[in-house]
Symmetry: C2
Subunit: 444 residues, 2 copies
């Protein structure tokens, strides 16, 4: 229910939720469909669904006018209570895992009421039922920062089932914090993937009415139902305006801002495509396409070794941290070096040199990979002599892989292959996580 004040104004104007209205105050004016209030949040905020699928909240006060328009919203209709299977549309499985977007779409609360039935989702985002027959699999409800490799394994199995059950594509809702770790893990675990697996979420805490959840969902469903991308990809706002989402390779994307809707950026890559809320898909880089001659069956490879560590080098950092992980019987370590992949080699205090601990770790059979904390660009072994010295310890330079991706890849490899094979594969491309050449426009 809206506040009593609003309810009276609505009653007076013979306005009910679902009506197309004009709302104006000194700061804002817009047309849209009045949305029923959820059972949470600020009762004095009117919520309109705009024609772009995006919801906006307007605080009601004495200066706010609401006028009913004699017009039906162009692209909006409440779904029927019981969903019918529409043969003209593909089936898309939605797997929910928790996070702001995974809960029922209470865009102004962040409340934790989980989405239970497709009907609930389609009531809030009716556009989805025009894109696909949606099947919902509420796999679990865990904040993404609490997720680990066991959840990644369950997710991979969920995707396998979705394709076995006839889905054309899969959409996954997760929290955004570790979304790029999740997308990396699924990229490696889903062998022979032959359909789109599209991960999306809501970046803004959605208690303002201005959640990004809706457009992200709609674009993700377009990608899953209509694109020919046979990869794991993240689908999130391209910019701060609500016009397009970027579909980004799961191993070439990173959360680069704590709170902005366009926080996810492709790193050392262009997006695969940009997707408008109306469903236009503009492909802008190469990607693995669906092979029409094959089915959607995936081969799971869900082994994962959790004893892999990500260690950042910084001035005055004590390399004994490597000894610590060796003693704890870790199987792999990814180091975030500086610049082209540096650690201290000849510091004035010898105890800060990373060479002896690196040699020791490699000697004990630990697989050590080197990445760069710059994030953008590529590590090298040949530009400076210090790089050659580090490389000679047996540490493996990981090309243009992100540190987080290298970490997930190393856990994946160690969980499925023998050590020698892991060393061979760590800096060779498997699913697009390493590109042979860096292009100039891949930087901000």
């Amino acid at each position: 229910m809206y506040s009593k004040e609003i309810e009276q104004v609505l009653k007076k104007g013979k306005i009910t939720p679902g009506n197309y209205v004009h709302v104006a105050n000194p700061n804002f004016s817009s047309d849209g469909v009045l949305i029923p209030r959820p059972n949470f949040g600020d009762e004095s905020i009117l919520v309109l669904k705009l024609s772009n699928g995006y919801n906006v909240g307007i605080r009601y006060d004495a200066k706010t006018k609401i006028i009913k328009l004699n017009k039906v919203a162009a692209k909006f209709s409440f779904p029927e209570n019981k969903l019918k299977f529409d043969k003209s549309k593909p089936k898309v499985t939605l797997i929910t895992t928790g996070g702001t977007i995974g809960s029922k779409v209470d865009y102004r609360t962040g409340g934790v009421h989980m989405l239970l039935k497709p009907e609930e989702l389609l009531y809030d985002v009716p556009e989805l039922s025009r894109i696909a027959n949606v099947e919902v699999n509420n796999l679990f409800s865990i904040a993404s920062e609490d997720m680990g490799y066991k959840q990644w394994q369950d997710l991979a199995k969920g995707v396998e089932s979705a394709f076995e059950n006839g889905s054309r594509g899969v959409v996954i809702f997760t929290g955004t914090d570790t979304m790029h770790y999740i997308s990396s893990a699924l990229s490696f675990m889903l062998e022979r993937l032959n359909g789109p697996v599209v991960i999306t979420g809501a970046q803004r805490s959605s208690d303002r009415g201005s959640s990004d959840a809706f457009m992200n969902m709609i674009c993700a469903f377009h990608a899953a139902a209509e694109s020919d991308v046979a990869e794991v990809a993240v689908c999130m706002h391209t910019g701060s305006s609500d016009d397009t989402c970027s579909l980004m390779r799961g191993t070439k994307v990173r959360k680069m801002h704590t709170s902005r809707r366009d926080a996810f950026k492709p790193i050392n890559a262009r997006p695969i495509a940009k997707i408008s809320v109306e469903g236009r898909i503009d492909y802008i880089s190469e990607y693995k396409k669906i092979d029409a001659g094959k089915g959607r069956k995936v081969d799971l490879m869900t082994g994962f070794e959790p004893k892999v560590a990500l260690v950042k080098f910084y001035p005055n950092s004590d390399p004994e941290i490597l000894d610590y992980y060796v003693e704890k019987e870790y199987k792999g370590i990814i180091i975030e070096g500086t610049g082209l992949g540096h650690m201290a080699v000849n510091p004035t205090e010898a105890k800060y040199s990373w060479i002896a601990p690196l040699k020791k770790a490699v000697g004990k059979g630990v697989v050590v990979g080197i990445t760069s904390q710059c994030l953008f660009g590529r590590v090298h072994t040949k530009v400076y002599s210090n790089l050659r010295i580090i490389s000679n310890t047996g540490a493996i330079y990981c090309e243009d892989m992100l540190p987080e991706v290298a970490l997930v890849k190393l856990g994946f490899l160690l969980g499925n292959y023998k050590t020698e094979e892991v060393k061979r594969m760590l800096n060779r491309n498997i699913v697009g996580e390493i590109t042979a050449r860096t292009e100039v426009d891949w930087f901000v």
Copy 2:
């Protein structure tokens, strides 16, 4: 010496280094001053100094034409052997520390011949003598990844001496790998700074003739000799073209690319100014200005506690790493959380929860600060319940500070203040490292 082939062509055309020439091949054409070949590198590359102070290398082949122009280069003259003090110009001290730029400017080799006298520098970059009376202090020669807090302390003392000896500003050449750690350290150590301290370097390995060293140097000298900025700032290429450098606050800058010339970007800030190679300074954000009523005397505060650690949280990361640092008697830990400052709180496997180890560390008197691995944006304690739970352990959320800056600040504070004071100061602004409000255009 150039290659025999080139020497013959030059001889035939009566061209000697220092002449103004036109060079053209099917891919390139330019006018500039022919530069004498250094004793390193590829002999078949002609090097021209362009009017913007930038050097360009052109591979000579049969299709390359060199024509002597009857014209003297506008802004170029070889310096006199003995430098005269020019009273009309300010004195700027150049402190060199090593790194590509710190060595004699052998722009095509990366050779390690260190710059010994001002004459050598001014021979290669004569523009500098038109900006300032340059005094060179070759402090040490250490790759920046090998530098630690002891070098930061020496540098701070070097800056103090430079101002005591009458310099208007200071330029520091360092390697780029840890330049943003160095700039942070100096920002905190130089109390009551009342003149520009400008750090620059060369990002590209300079063996191609297309080094960024020259423009960076020239812009840095303009900043030190002519700007009214009383801060520690990094001065590096703004974009990939050679028109301007950005002057960026030392605590709001980060190396974001392994190899590009425009690798350094302001994070959660705009640049202080853009500086053209001709010396035009466009100020674009607020900064601390020189107080004309005061001298240049700085108060050093060089205490530093090296037992501070930077720990990154990631899925499956074992929080026992905190216990490790507590046992090693570390005094401070900065955590790079995900998103708004998250770590696992309620994972399915309890051992991955960071809450108990956090409480233990704080209980033992370790100062723990929380930042975000997103880099852009600001951590919060209130948006999600997990954030409140982490905050309640006594860990301190560090606003919009970069993880690396928080690490350096924590080491600085612990080296100079008592623990309770450190806790109070960690997330309060001292020198611009924390901004009260984030603006929309501070993201890429």
